[in-house]
Assembly symmetry: C2
Homo-oligomer: 282 residues x 2
């Protein structure tokens, strides 16, 4: 096995999810920052592209020849009323269009949690399936891959009721692999006892994105206390080998929400440290 | 189905995990409080019984004829050194002895997370299996059931690397059902996409304890922001029906860690509200 494994990752495969420095910089500065640090991948959020303008965002990203490793985000399928569900569907189609304009490799889906005042997680999951099926009709027609991102179970109520790689694989089985796959974010999946077997089950065709950061122990906040690679307990390198063993050759996208640490630092310092830690710890 | 389901739970099956009012009262006062409120079950923690004295605790619980629905807690199996592992094993045997003295229905196991400076979750899980096998030799010889409590994945690093009912069932399969089962705590397991099927798989013989509280949305703290039944998103009644469908007839143990709310209230008020919410929401 060992000869097949690259001890260090290809530095050209580092990508920055723009949430990582969103408190320091606006999107135009983040794009420039990535180019300045010779980081070749970027994954922007919708609110940021709307602020900068979609066409202007696309122009700036193209001018630096950055790869858009994913567009954040679509999803939020479950809704309490048919009207809300329809509005979500419409918004998701717009997200697909924006992802196309940006030439993104995929639209990342945070699928949504329980609808207002509902306690029916099973029903929410059925709504995710149905909403996804509807969106797929459109996304397939325009060839924009959708990446289901299983979120950590601590977000099951309010962000995503797809919480394991197994659920994501089950959805791919049910809805068909064409234009549908998985965004594997280690923050959300590192604890999963079936991580290895479900990565294997997903295989190269379903592995559309690979997101990295670290799980701090202890974690101080459910949302905004993600760690820099190497500062926590995730065996990121082993996880990279697992996806590479299936043939994944895509980017390694750093996504760190950190209100108490990384968002308070100089943006250039953060990107420099991301590059170094990517090499040393991933 | 519906005629087999009791809409409201038997109020005689309410139990109070002593953590629920541990900031207000010492253990002797909690025991008196349960008796005063006609709550027939109690589940004390080791630090509390040590403070009150084990024999004195047993005497007071007996004098009120309370059922000890579980003893909190043993476990913490993974360790960085053989010496630490041996110390844990010794401590776990003492926990079994204490549970016997209290005539507890089971010793609840929080199995432990990653050893110091380890990132190897697989290895930690193997250490859990091995430590559990060792402890079972003793617990079986004295007929004290061990209840594996799967903890929410947000505790995988530092508290328990057994995070799903499926893992717990797998351990029971591997180590044998005799004197081994599962403590189903809804706070930890409500999100699990396999909740129903794994409760079914566990069946009556493995269902040793049923812990209730609620998941608040949003949750403000990873440890100390559990909700009172009815204040969150868990469908507690559906979960009770699920365990009852397998033949579970044991207690419903309320365990609420709540630094910002319930620990700040009058202990009698908390117990009164537990009783009411048990009837209304469980």
């Amino acid at each position: 096995m060992s000869e097949q494994r690259n001890q260090q990752p290809d530095p050209g495969l580092l990508s920055i999810n723009t949430a990582t420095v969103r408190q320091q910089w606006t999107l135009d500065k983040i794009i420039d920052g990535c180019a300045r640090h010779d980081i070749r991948g970027i994954s922007p959020w919708r609110d940021q592209t709307q602020a900068l303008g979609l066409k202007e965002t696309a122009r700036r990203i193209r001018s630096h020849q950055l790869t858009v490793t994913g567009y954040c985000r679509g999803g939020m399928f479950p809704a309490a009323t048919e009207q809300l569900r329809q509005a979500n569907n419409d918004d998701n189609r717009r997200a697909v269009d924006e992802a196309l304009e940006l030439n993104a490799q995929c639209l990342v889906l945070v699928v949504g949690g329980l609808p207002e005042s509902s306690k029916d997680l099973y029903q929410a999951r059925m709504q995710v399936r149905d909403g996804l099926a509807t969106l797929l009709e459109y996304s397939r027609s325009v060839s924009m891959p959708l990446a289901i991102e299983p979120l950590h179970p601590m977000y099951a109520a309010d962000r995503a009721c797809i919480n394991t790689l197994e659920q994501a694989n089950d959805l791919c089985d049910e809805l068909g692999d064409d234009g549908l796959g998985i965004a594997v974010d280690l923050y959300h999946t590192w604890w999963d006892p079936k991580f290895s077997s479900q990565i294997k089950r997903a295989g190269k065709s379903r592995l559309l994105a690979f997101h990295i950061c670290d799980w701090l122990a202890p974690t101080q906040d459910l949302l905004l206390d993600r760690g820099m690679m190497g500062d926590g307990v995730i065996d990121i390198r082993a996880a990279r080998w697992a996806v590479e063993a299936e043939g994944y050759r895509g980017f390694h996208e750093v996504e760190i929400f950190s209100a108490r640490n990384w968002w308070l630092r100089d943006g250039d310092d953060v990107l420099s440290i991301c590059k170094q830690r990517h090499l040393d710890c991933c």
